[in-house]
């Protein structure tokens, strides 16, 4: 990691890289944690409104997306196993599958958002303004949290796509699998966050 011109090349520190990644994930956990605090604060303030507003969401899409997300997490972890066993073809295939699933997830999400926006359920919409205050907050949180999660999915796709390319070119192999492992850690965290979002929004009713 130290500069190229260095006369004293440091040995690569894979554990250090992983520790750094975990510390970064800590910041992500707390980032969403802040939103979870906000959610629980508001839910304890407006239990009935949250219950009612939750019924406006399409639980089927939410559950479907959960399955997509869980499966994509599986394919990433399988990609790591195959990389460590030196099965490059499988690694590429698993990562490709992950990317496809991620795209499917975002598509689902897009369809869902479009439906809700079509029904006038978005911040500052005239229809939403007629609903009780607690429900407006529910939708504010819903768009913020799923939107931020969606951005993380997008970022994760970027990272995994980059890793996929480098695996295909042979630049990432079993000797430096820590890159893929770290990308995988990030993806799993995105998965964990969705695991929490499902009951908070879709199963609240």
């Amino acid at each position: 990691m130290s500069s190229q011109a260095s006369a004293h090349e440091e040995p690569r520190d894979d554990f250090g890289a992983k520790l750094g990644m975990w510390l970064f994930l800590v910041t992500e956990m707390i980032l969403f944690g802040g939103l979870f605090i906000g959610y629980s604060y508001m839910r304890s303030k407006y239990p009935a409104e949250f219950h009612h507003a939750g019924s406006e969401l399409n639980a089927t899409i939410g559950i479907l997306n959960t399955l997509v997300m869980l499966t994509s997490s599986l394919t990433v972890v399988l990609a790591i196993v195959s990389l460590q066993r030196g099965e490059k073809g499988k690694t590429v295939a698993f990562l490709g599958a992950t990317l496809l699933l991620a795209a499917l997830f975002l598509m689902d999400k897009g369809i869902e958002w479009r439906g809700e926006i079509g029904r006038g359920l978005y911040p500052d919409a005239p229809h939403l303004a007629t609903l009780p205050p607690g429900e407006q907050v529910f939708f504010g949180l819903y768009y913020t949290m799923t939107g931020l999660h969606g951005l993380h999915v997008l970022a994760g796709m970027g990272v995994l796509g980059w890793v996929l390319m480098r695996v295909a070119r042979g630049q990432i192999s079993r000797d430096n699998s820590v890159v893929l492992e770290n990308a995988g850690l990030y993806w799993h965290l995105v998965d964990v966050i969705w695991i929490f979002l499902l009951p908070l929004f879709y199963l609240a009713a």
């Binding site: 750094g20 707390i30 980032l31 205050p133 504010g140 768009y143």
Partner: protein, 543 residues
């Protein structure tokens, strides 16, 4: 360090000399050398500090009743907001960790660099990007924000000024802070020299370690809070807007969950630097090494749990008031422990009263006033009176300026010869102390008194009974600034014309003093092996 086994050979060129393929400014902007990055932070921060101070001077001038027409109330509100944003996010929070932490953490633990040098450079760019955004927010949109640096909702979501961009700037700066935290923790865990056990680390490193944890655990909450403010302003998501069922108190909780621990991000590295200076000039080992190390961790831990004391008058539940007041009292204890340990370190030493020690002891005095006024307002009944008055303004300037600011100067005086290989004029460093000390107390002690009399903070226009106090404070601000100019003029002069400093002008015991001044690019010719605790005197002379 008792007889570190290796030292730098004097033949290697210093890190200030370009050694890569690139030269000049470009070499600096693309460097991954922690020392160069530290200096780049330093250059930026000194600039911001003087910008913030200039704004402060103007704020004081307005409070002279005869000059109150020099600007409108709107301009004044913008000034105190910008003063707060610059000083807090661009100077005090990153000040010691980003400048001296970057420069000296690897040197003190005997490493060649931090764990992620490129990430370190990225942090600097995030920092500069945030700074540029903050400055841009002054001249675009609806003009500079006028909410105070705390951006309280719902005012911050209603005002027509350019809060969105300013808040985004703070968000980016938070990113820089978090990445630095990740970097430092990994560095301390992975890069310590052979034999550098945890309890052989210099205490400055301990304080950086504690700080880094707070940076990681608290900053994301600020990030998300600021994102919510931006979304609120752009899309009206309604989480903080009472008209839509939102709750301004939720904003305050989230904001202070970060921003109180931020105070400890500011003060912990300052305490660490002081802990380095005192044993060096007392020529004896630190009193109670473990107590100081653990108190750093305790401050980081308990300090993250006291945010509610900013909300005693907000209508929080009485239970909340009680718990947060109790925790606030408890967090004062580890700070007290440190003060006692520092004082005890002077006992039976052989004190060499050099400028860094003078400033370090000044830190202790001013920090005591800051800390004790903190305890006073942690008492609920008193808080109710002094909250949001000049008492608070005085208190946190004692902590942040008298504490972190003075510690920054002390650290700079202490490490300047190591960083640049030059020595400043000690006589002028002493001379600068008098106006700084006198002006500081005239300015901020008066504020404490004004606050008790009922002068609210963030007031463009004050009631006539506060006239005298404001005149005293304003005159104090002039004296203070003249001292600062002498201090930094001295540094600037020494940078170009200073006498050469040896590798260990103070007789410092820790590893950074075993290498050349300024250090070579690789820090150490061979990585030292550590065989004992950090503060061992007498220091054996280097071969």
């Amino acid at each position: 360090m008792s007889a570190p086994s290796a030292t730098a050979s004097t033949s290697e060129p210093s890190f200030l000399v370009d050694q890569g393929p690139r030269h000049g400014l470009l070499a600096w902007l693309t460097t991954t050398d922690h020392k160069r990055i530290g200096l780049m932070y330093l250059a930026a921060m000194v600039t911001f500090f003087f910008t913030g101070a200039t704004i402060g001077i103007f704020m004081r001038l307005v409070q002279l009743s005869s000059l109150s027409h020099m600007m409108t109330a709107q301009t004044y509100n913008a000034l105190f907001t910008v003063h707060g944003v610059i000083m807090i996010f661009l100077f005090v929070i990153p000040g010691l960790p980003a400048v001296f932490g970057n420069f000296f953490l690897p040197l003190q633990i005997g490493a060649r660099d931090v764990a992620f040098p490129r990430l370190n450079l990225a942090s600097w760019y995030f920092f500069m990007a945030g700074a540029v955004l903050a400055v841009t927010s002054l001249f675009t949109g609806g003009g500079p924000p006028d909410t105070g640096w705390s951006f309280y909702a719902p005012f911050s979501i209603k005002t027509g000024t350019n809060v969105t961009l300013a808040v985004f700037a703070a968000f980016v700066l938070g990113f820089s802070s978090m990445l630095t935290g990740v970097n430092f923790i990994t560095t301390i865990h992975r890069m310590r020299a052979p034999g550098m056990k945890w309890f052989r680390m210099p205490l400055f490193c301990w304080s950086l370690y504690a700080t880094a944890w707070v940076q990681i655990l608290a900053t994301p909450v600020l990030a998300i809070t600021l994102v919510l403010v931006i979304l609120e302003r752009l899309f009206g998501i309604g989480i903080f807007d009472p008209a839509k069922g939102g709750d301004p108190l939720l904003y305050q909780h989230l904001f202070w969950i970060y921003s109180h621990p931020a105070v400890y991000i500011m003060i912990l590295p300052a305490m660490g630097a002081i802990t380095e200076i005192i044993p060096t000039f007392a020529r004896r080992t630190i009193f109670g090494y473990k107590a100081i190390a653990f108190s750093s961790m305790a401050i980081a831990g308990v300090g993250s749990l006291v945010w509610g004391h900013h909300m005693f008058t907000s209508g929080m539940s009485l239970t909340g008031d009680m718990i947060f007041s109790l925790l606030t009292m408890i967090v004062a204890v580890p700070s007290a422990i440190k003060v006692f340990n520092w004082t005890a370190t002077l006992y039976k030493g052989s004190i060499d009263f050099q400028p860094p020690l003078l400033y370090a002891l000044t830190f202790i005095f001013l920090f005591c006033i800051g800390g004790l006024t903190g305890v006073m307002q942690g008492a609920l009944a008193v808080n109710q009176h002094v909250h949001d008055t000049y008492f608070i303004v005085g208190h946190f300037h004692y902590v942040m300026f008298g504490g972190t600011g003075i510690a920054f100067f002390a650290a700079f005086l202490y490490w300047f010869p190591k960083m640049f290989g030059k020595m400043y004029s000690r006589a002028w460093a002493y001379a600068a102390w008098f106006p700084i000390f006198i002006g500081f107390n005239m300015l901020y002690f008066t504020m404490l008194v004004l606050g008790l009399e009922g002068m609210p903070r963030r007031y463009y226009h004050h009631l006539p009974q506060f006239d005298t106090g404001h005149v005293v404070a304003t005159v104090g601000s002039w004296i203070l600034v003249s001292g600062l100019l002498i201090l930094f003029g001295n540094f600037a002069y020494a940078l170009f014309k200073g006498k050469k400093a040896g590798s260990n002008p103070w007789g410092g015991p820790t590893l950074e003093w075993t290498t050349a001044s300024p250090p070579p690019k690789e820090n150490f010719a061979t990585i030292p092996t550590v065989t004992g605790p950090p503060y061992v005197f007498p220091v054996e002379p280097r071969p």
